[in-house]
Symmetry: C2
Subunit: 234 residues, 2 copies
DNA sequence: GTAGACTCGATCCATGGTTATCGATATAAA
DNA sequence: TTTATATCGATAACCATGGATCGAGTCTAC
């Protein structure tokens, strides 16, 4: 039996999402990136996994594995070139190509994201905002126009926008997601604490602040339970 | 050989942080909570893991396992009482007790969090904001006073604030964290994309928007690479 | 009252990410 | 030039989480 291992025809058998990099590694890459940019600003041109690990609270092996996914190759004893490493991460993450995005929900959080200039350095450009509230319609927030929600689908299609950001209250999120899908948007960054129902091929990522909050408050509560118990024991 | 399995003396040998619940389960609990509150609002009083799983995109076994951590007990065939379940989650997460918090960095994101009333339902009350910028000092944002950073440590101690939220630019975050530690704050919710150096016993949780952004842009970039390749193949 | 179907709870297995180990290699010092 | 050391890259063991299975119990329908 001959097995075809021709790499130009990827094995995509059945599953359409071959991750090829663990999600946690992917999530750590921006941290390396931040750190490396800092290093570069200090004029440091070479670094090693050991140093990175020490500064970021990770073990060297993990750093090495994560970075290997970007395709970078290091040299024994020397380590990596900082510049090359930054370049490799940016290319790998697609931060060189701009992703244009629509944002829906011009409330507190939406406004904050619209004003976050730093995103532009990481390949994200929010080009317009949408809101159901007629009072907000026609306003400009951080130099971005606020448009009525009805225009989203059409505009997204004509401008070939691929990314949608949802910062509405949870009740409205599903309807907004439907509009986005209608407009041909490929990926949704969802800040509303609901599970969105979308077609299979749409990429959805939830940024659930309440998840973090839950972890924090659970840990705090447990800490106080424990210290209370210790007090009782005394 | 007799092994003492007295549960009143937990095994905490060495490690001081016995999670006792997987982190992913913990992160899912708020989703169940949101969902259950919705159900309750619709007047539904009983539900099962199968139904929850169907609506939240999880398999029943996982739901059951997650919920078991809260101490709830269900009944065969019937499932769980929605009200009891909500109660169990809230108690487990410590959402019944209010956590008072200080927020530092009254920029776009900080302002948004200050105005997020919904947090109060989940045990979080931001009682004051701090900023290094003298222009902001003395202002009120969403009914919260903006105070100079120098007063943080003293005030935190006197008001026995346990939670700090950092929404400053990355350069300032470490200094702020130091102040918080000085003020006796126990846990830090860090929105700045830096690794904070704090004493061992401080709980830190990073809310790194760039991690999510990285995942999204990588997936988008990969999708377009793939579709490009398919086009070439044609 | 009894049979059947459904769900809980517990145990077991599989998958995947993290950590440890080992050989290879390049730099630096002798 | 040679030797020692630090680091990379790869392989292998380990552990946590996710998923599957099975017995037990309860409600419904007949």
């Amino acid at each position: 039996m001959v097995i075809d291992i021709n790499l130009s025809t990827p094995l995509r058998v059945g599953r359409q999402e071959a991750p090829s990099i663990p999600q946690p590694s992917l999530a750590r890459l921006p941290q390396y990136h931040h750190y490396l940019v800092d290093l570069a600003a200090k004029g440091i041109t070479q670094t090693t996994c050991s140093v990175i690990g020490r500064d970021l609270g990770l073990i060297p092996v993990q750093v090495r594995k994560d970075l290997q996914h970007t395709g970078i190759i290091g040299r024994p004893k020397t380590g990596y070139s900082v510049a090359e490493l930054i370049q490799a991460i940016e290319t790998f993450l697609g931060w060189n190509n701009i992703n244009e995005a629509f944002l829906v929900g011009a409330g507190n959080l939406g406004t904050a994201l619209l004003g976050h200039e730093r995103f532009s350095k990481f390949g994200l450009r929010i080009v317009a905002a949408f809101d159901r509230d007629p009072a907000k319609e026609g306003q400009w927030i951080h130099e971005k126009a606020v448009l009525p929600l009805e225009e989203l689908a059409d505009l997204a299609q004509r401008m070939s926008i691929h990314l949608g950001i949802i910062t509405t209250p949870p009740e409205a999120a599903q309807a907004v997601a439907d509009e986005m899908v209608k407009g041909g948007i490929q990926a949704i960054w969802n800040f509303a604490p609901v599970k969105l129902k979308v077609p299979e091929h749409i990429i959805v990522h939830n940024e659930d602040l309440y998840s973090t909050l839950a972890t924090l408050s659970w840990k705090l509560a447990r800490r106080f339970r424990v210290s209370l118990k210790e007090k009782e024991a005394v």
